[in-house]
């Protein structure tokens, strides 16, 4: 059993299309009991059994942490991804029995903050749905700035504006509305914490500007689950278990290791949590690092890899697994 991956047997209680790209899924426990408590920003890993293939994808819980009768996630359809979101959209119907992990929070609120400043991009809105519910229930001070491509793709923008009025500010790309980021970051009262979730480019931009404007790193929180990228197949030798495996084009290295019957620890499967960090014993080739966990120095060293999202191109790779 992998670290922190205690499982929950659930049934899909509802499937609700939200807009042309996003669908919401509701889960309840099969035994009718309450689900475990979670805090805003937590995610679950959803097991998708698709024929002989199993995908494990992380999704943020977006319901109110005050209501644990059900968990809700919103999945954006990705037509060119590895198929997890297409499976959710096409195969998952009410009544389907599924298995999900216990919730894990790698993007929690720092409740010592005097104010919470939240920046969302696209489907990155989901953890903020839970966080704003949590804060609103406790009278917390927050402000949410949400960038979406168009009004019709502004998932839950209407709900959020209805709930929180002018504490929510929307920016539409098609209307050329842009966050005046430097001004926003420079005008926050002392004791504000910053949270950002969205595309990698947005996260990097916000983190860079915040650092340059003097925000201490411990006040800047971010989450970006990297989806494992497809790529050329490659062979890997697992030195500890004495196996040689092939990583398929649509498979992640972690999935290939698991398919060979080796059970490395994991938590987020998105390059964030650090659980599956693996030592490289030897290599001849090029690493394709896609994680947010290892430092740049680690990436350059060629001594470590995060098998959930990173790949390899070259002659040989030997891992300590």
């Amino acid at each position: 059993m992998s670290t922190g991956t205690t499982k929950l047997d659930v049934v899909v209680s509802d499937v609700v299309p939200v807009n042309e790209l996003v669908t919401r899924f509701h889960f309840r426990r099969r035994d009718g009991e309450l689900l475990p408590t979670f805090s805003g920003g937590a995610h679950v890993v959803v097991e998708m059994r698709d024929g002989d293939r199993t995908r494990l994808n992380p999704y943020s819980l977006m319901g109110s942490p005050l209501d644990t009768r059900e968990y809700t996630i919103s999945v954006r359809r990705d037509d060119v991804g590895r198929g997890g979101s297409l499976f959710m959209h096409r195969q998952v119907k009410p009544g389907l029995e599924m298995v999900i992990s216990y919730p894990v929070n790698l993007f929690s609120l720092d409740l010592r903050a005097k104010k919470h400043l939240m920046l969302a991009g696209g489907i990155g809105i989901t953890p903020f749905m839970a966080q704003t519910s949590q804060l609103a229930g406790a009278g917390g001070n927050f402000e949410l700035h949400y960038t979406c491509r168009t009004a019709s793709l502004g998932t839950y923008a209407d709900v959020l504006q209805q709930r929180y009025g002018n504490r929510v500010r929307l920016y539409h790309d098609d209307r050329e509305e842009r966050i005046d980021l430097d001004r926003l970051l420079s005008s926050q009262p002392l004791g504000t914490h910053l949270y950002v979730c969205g595309p990698a480019g947005m996260i990097n931009w916000v983190r860079d500007r915040a650092a340059a404007l003097g925000w201490p790193p411990e006040t800047v929180h971010f989450e970006h689950f990297a989806a494992p990228q497809p790529g050329a197949p490659f062979d890997v030798e697992l030195a500890v278990s004495g196996k040689t495996i092939r990583v398929g084009e649509q498979q992640s290295l972690l999935e290939a290791i698991e398919a060979a019957g080796v059970d490395p620890p994991y938590l987020c499967r998105g390059g964030v949590c650090g659980q599956c960090e693996t030592n490289v014993i030897s290599s001849d080739g090029k690493f394709i690092h896609n994680d947010h966990w290892l430092s740049e120095e680690d990436h350059r060293s060629g001594c470590k890899i995060m098998p959930c999202v990173s790949r390899f191109e070259g002659k040989s790779l030997v891992l300590e697994r």
Binding site: L185, S186, L190, T192, W215, T219
Partner: protein, 198 residues
């Protein structure tokens, strides 16, 4: 130098210039030297966005050297208590991006940090450097009174008069080390008093 004994015992670093446009330095006595040493590493224009609040020692040294750094503001205060309202006002009106640098005695660093914590800053976001006396600010755990500038071990509580063991156990919330009665069983036992925090 302060040595790590138990986890709450604060350890101080060396001031280094942080990114950002606004910098607030609070220093007492020889703490000025930490600012002056750091100035050599600061990027051009750093002191244009800097306020220094300084409590000179009894000899009144280092004021001219701080003036020479040409900070946007230099405020000389006679004591920490006298600068407190000004500090609170500054922090209440401050925005994210203000960086705090504390240098000098432990009492000064601790009390300035206590005000900044209340204003919402994280203690790990502040730069600190210990200079000068090792004298401690001590809270008597029995009567809760604070005694300033404790240099001896054990020390007398200035409020209730108990003889206290000055522990390394430190409270950031109170900005004080904890003092616990050293002869509670038998008050006639009086261990020798030594100069432990010169």
């Amino acid at each position: 130098m302060a040595a790590k004994t138990i986890i709450s015992r604060p350890i101080y670093g060396t001031l280094s210039p942080q990114p950002g446009k606004h910098h607030l330095f609070i220093a007492d006595a020889e703490g000025a030297l930490a600012i002056i040493d750091m100035a050599g590493k600061a990027p051009p224009g750093f002191f244009d966005g800097t306020e220094i609040v300084f409590i000179p020692g009894p000899e009144g040294k280092h004021i001219a050297a701080l003036e020479a750094l040409k900070p946007a503001q230099l405020h000389i205060a006679p004591s920490f208590a006298s600068l407190l309202p000004r500090l609170k006002q500054t922090l209440t009106n401050a925005h994210m991006g203000l960086r705090l640098y504390l240098s000098g005695t432990e009492g000064l660093i601790g009390q300035a940090m206590q005000v900044a914590l209340e204003a919402g800053m994280d203690h790990t976001s502040m730069q600190t450097e210990h200079r000068g006396s090792l004298a401690r600010r001590m809270q008597c755990v029995h009567c809760k009174g604070i005694t300033e500038n404790v240099t001896t071990q054990p020390a007398l509580c200035a409020h209730c008069g108990l003889l206290l063991l000055v522990r390394d156990h430190y409270s950031r919330r109170l900005a004080a080390f904890q003092g616990v009665c050293i002869n509670a069983e038998d008050r006639s036992e009086v261990p020798p008093m030594e100069e432990a925090f010169p």
